[in-house]
Amino acid sequence: MMFQLSYLLLALVLIMVASMVAREKTARYLTVLFAALVFVFVISNDMTMTTFAYGTLSILTLTFQLNFVSSVLLLLISFVGVFVPLRYASSPGFFVLLQFLLFSLVGLFTTRDFIVFYIFWEMVLIPSFFVIGIWGGPSKNYAAMKFFIYTHIGSVFMLLAIFTMYFTEGASSFAMSTLTAGMNVVPVSYQAFIIFGFLFAFLIKLPSAPLHSWLPDAYVEAPSEGTVFISSLLSKMGAFGLLVIFSPIFMASSFAGNSAVPIALMALGIFSLIYSALVALYQKDLKRMMSYTSIGHMSFITIAVGGFLYLNGTNPLDSQLLYYGAVFQLISHGIIISMIFALVDTLEKTAGTRSIPSLGGLARQLPALSFLIIAAFLASVAIPGFSGFVGEILILLGSFAVLKYYLIFVLIGVVLTASYHIFALQKTVFGPYNEFLGNIKAKREELLVEILPLALIFLLGIYPALIFHTFNIHVIQFLGGIH
């Protein structure tokens, strides 16, 4: 018997209601249950492509699909749903908001209807906005507003693009499959607008430089638990959009063989990678520096999607390296960045500061924390044995087919990324101990929780087949959606 998505969504709503009415710490533990349900759902559907059709509701098509990208992202959701409650003892309200966000994401990553997609897309903004606005740092109002308005501008263009598709195709529903397949009847100038609209929304959410300026503020001002879920999950919305929504639309449009958009995407990705690394190198605040890491990692997605669309199916091997690399990068980055931000939080609480110049030589006083920080940073630099390596190396290997000698720019970005991580390690963990910090000790329970992401990072890095066996071999047909 199949675990129906409708049951899952219903159960999740019930848990949310229960969390709202329950007292004190119940919400925290219910979040774990929430995540466990999502996990069971993915596993019991064997992580293969499953379609759930529940008819229509007026013009909305209630069709959902669990494909390999959404399976991977649902797994990430269940990770965050377990990790955050275990690591942070926040107020019940926070966990209700978190559940609401996870619920919206489950819907977002499975729906096959554009309007439902848009609704979930907007629903995600609400909890994030409140978490930053209520529990955030000194300039939380500014950050929350900026985050909300900036990403909302992107959504507006996406909505316009959806309507353009709907009206120019004369469609009767907003089902993704029909609207995507009908792209070829849309006049070319409208097609261009549709592509622009989706791209704009997704690139803001990803984010790719230069559309990223909401991110450092949001990440830095958000409370640590907020930063963890925003960084690991919200950026995946843009990536999911590029991989599963945008790519099929582009491939079905009459721009399919055209290389201008793919080249622009790759150029943007490379720019984003190098730029984020350069800016990160200059940061003194560890949390701000790590926000730029997120931009850098996500730019690999942009490069992969650009390369994949550029190849347009001509080189199946390299296309798959790029596409699978990108999907693997999603889950790997989600786990790594959660771990990093949680560690930065522990460091800040322990040492009283997260400013790099006032730290130093932590390995002596905080050996366990230092070990974890080194491991997380090395994972982020994509050292083999850590999950970060698998995604990044596949994208790099695959993009040689497209970029050829221009790959040098990506490689410069890779070296720069390694540089600022190593630089930060040298100034914080290594070197002589800053005696002004005094005799400090990290909380044991906070460190113990970090074993969960660390174990996952190792597991996925050494045995990526766990995720890889779910991948559908026929990526190109899957994307075309016209087979």
Binding site: L317, G361, P384, L397, F400, V415, P432
Partner: protein
């Protein structure tokens, strides 16, 4: 899976799986880590010995691959590929690695973090073994990176020393520059062979010449970083900040030899064009390091420059383009070098242990009497390094010089001069350490090290002496088609004596200049001041990389980007916010609350929209 395959996996798998336990038992009792770590590598060595003599010598090629990433149609194979080349390397790495770790038991016995140290050493050695036995380029790269990671952790092992932390950073980033070329090389190999060339056995599936050239040059880029060749050699002298045994491991058995091994492994795809690049990089490196080695005073850094030079010989031997002969020449030099360089480093470690880690050779002197066994072994090492007839270095290095004569007289001359320089700096170091009077308090009170440190030194010294007799067997074992005739057996030409004469001259000159109290060094330095400064400043390469590229270039760009980020991008976003806010403030003034004004505005709007309709629709 066959037993032979399982055993081959165990050669690197056992220490790889065992290293967490090495650190783990350290929490019970720190000395347990030392014993466990040493025995793990020793077992590895025994297994390699068994595999070597049960299968490899009988001509059985052990090969096994599995798919690391299922659902990718072109499989990314991981597995083992054990032919004569990899097995002879594995044997050497596990043996020398074992001796070095054994030495560390004595050397590190008082360090509070020795359990971590031994864990990392075991990981280091096992990664190198994995690199050697890898069945595909990707797996080779995985272990390549792990080797780099271990060197980073071990160079920075004494993390509280600012120099060590900074040297570790430098090593990581500089080798990373090489590594990314390796990545590009693998990417190119995949593209040009539809994935076939990913496995070591399938390298031949790249057919076109220009494609081979591109792939091989990119892979060579990786080798330059790892094997510390010009211009990416700058990390290795700084890496001397780590414990001496780490330097021994990096220089003799693991890490720097990885690049040479990579070239030898992928030799089939090297075209004449890429080989000439390889050759000249090697030659430039030899001369450069030989000159710098003459003016450095830090005993470990002298050895570091000598490593750079000796690796240069291996690279140059490969660049000669003599096919299987080149591989034989190069790998033989690699193994001979492993013995005498491990010997030199361990002897240096023993000396440093005795003189309280003062590394300046000007502060040593007269140690031959105080530490007879160590310094005599060092003498053997220095003789082997300079190629004294009969010792390992003579057979390995002079064969390369002789072989180069057939390729180009110019290269031959440079290689011979390189040998002369090697002798000069080796004996400059040795005479300053061993002869004369102690020039510091620490040297005054030096005494011989404990037996656990002396045993590996003596074993290595013995190998440095006798390794020469294996030369012929080594070449034929590596490749029966190899046509090198070992020195001493071949009919000698006059040419072949020149390196030996140069070597003896160098020894004498070194004694004349540095073996006694003399003012010659100062006179020469003053006489050729410009050149002396150029060499003393390491040809300004470090300055160029650190001060110009890193600090001016990258950090400057970084500052500019940060400014751009805050002013331009941040400013633009805030500006657009302000525009809307202010326009709201202005437009708010229309809302006067007076009904007659609203009616007026409605009327204006109505008229305007009617006009618009008329213009657009022609109503």
């Amino acid at each position: 899976m066959d037993l032979s395959i399982i055993l081959t996996f165990l050669i690197f798998g056992l220490p790889l799986a065992g290293f967490p336990f090495v650190i783990g038992v350290g929490f019970v009792k720190k000395n347990y880590s030392m014993y466990l770590g040493t025995s793990l590598i020793f077992i590895s060595f025994l297994i390699s010995l068994y595999v070597m003599f049960t299968y490899t010598v009988k001509g059985i090629l052990l090969q096994y691959s599995f798919n690391w990433l299922p659902s990718l149609p072109a499989i990314i194979p991981l597995g083992v590929y054990a032919d004569n080349l990899s097995m002879i390397m594995a044997l050497m790495v596990s043996f020398v690695g074992f001796l070095i770790i054994l030495f560390s038991v004595g050397y590190m016995k008082e360090d509070p973090n020795r359990h971590v140290f031994f864990g990392e050493m075991v990981l280091f050695t096992s990664s190198m073994l994995g690199l050697i036995l890898a069945s595909s380029l990707l797996m080779l790269f995985i272990f390549w990176e792990l080797v780099g990671l271990c060197s980073y952790l071990l160079i920075g092992f004494w993390y509280y020393k600012p120099n060590a932390a900074s040297a570790a950073k430098k090593a990581f980033i500089v080798t990373r520059v090489g590594d990314v070329f390796f990545i590009a090389g693998i990417g190119a190999a995949i593209l040009y062979s539809s994935g076939g060339a990913l496995s070591v056995a399938g390298l031949g599936s790249i057919h076109l010449m220009w494609q081979k050239t591109i792939v091989s040059l990119l892979l060579f880029g990786g080798a330059i970083g790892k094997s510390a060749q010009f211009p990416l050699h700058v990390w290795i002298p700084d890496a001397m900040e780590g414990p001496t045994t780490v330097s021994a491991l990096i220089h003799a058995a693991t890490m720097v030899t990885a690049g040479v091994y990579l070239i030898a492994r992928t030799y089939t795809i090297f075209t004449p064009v890429s080989l000439s690049v390889v050759l000249y990089i090697g030659v430039v490196t030899i001369i450069l390091s030989g000159l710098i080695g003459l003016v450095v005073n830090d005993i470990k850094r002298i050895l570091a420059y000598s490593t750079i030079g000796q690796i240069g010989y291996m690279v140059a031997a490969l660049g000669l383009g003599l096919g299987a002969t080149s591989i034989g020449l190069s790998i033989y030099q690699l193994e001979a070098h492993a013995f005498f360089k491990a010997l030199l480093f361990l002897a240096a470690g023993s000396i440093l242990h005795a003189v309280m880690n003062v590394r300046d050779i000007n502060k040593m002197g007269g140690l031959w009497k105080k530490m007879p066994i160590t310094v005599t072994s060092m003498f053997v090492g220095a003789l082997a390094l300079s190629g004294f007839p009969g010792l390992a270095g003579f057979f390995s290095k002079d064969s390369i010089i002789t072989a180069s004569y057939g390729v180009s007289i110019f290269v031959w001359a440079l290689l011979a001069i390189g040998g002369f320089l090697t002798t000069l700096y080796a004996f400059r170091m040795f005479f300053k350490v061993a002869l004369g009077k102690p020039r510091s308090n620490a040297a005054e009170h030096a005494h011989e090290s404990s037996w656990i440190m002396l045993i590996p030194i003596v074993i290595l010294a013995a190998f440095s002496v006798i390794f020469g007799i294996f030369q012929q067997g080594f070449y034929t074992f590596l490749n029966p088609a190899s046509v090198v005739v070992p020195l001493g057996i071949a009919p000698l030409k006059l040419m072949d004596f020149i390196p030996v004469i140069l070597m003896l001259l160098g020894m004498g000159l070194a004694y004349y200049v540095w073996g006694r109290n003399s003012t010659i060094p100062k006179t020469v330095a003053n006489g050729a001041q410009d050149f002396y400064l150029l060499v003393k400043n390491k040809f300004y390469l470090d300055v160029f990389f650190t001060n110009v590229i890193a600090e001016r270039g990258i950090l400057g760009l970084s500052a500019v980007s940060d400014g751009f980020e805050r002013r331009a991008i941040g400013g633009l976003v805030n500006l657009s916010g302000d525009v809307f806010e202010n326009s709201g403030k202005i437009l708010r003034k229309i809302q006067t609350g007076l009904a007659r004004q609203y009616v007026l505005i409605i009327l204006i709007g109505l008229i305007l929209s009617l006009l618009l309709l008329r213009i657009l629709m022609g109503v």
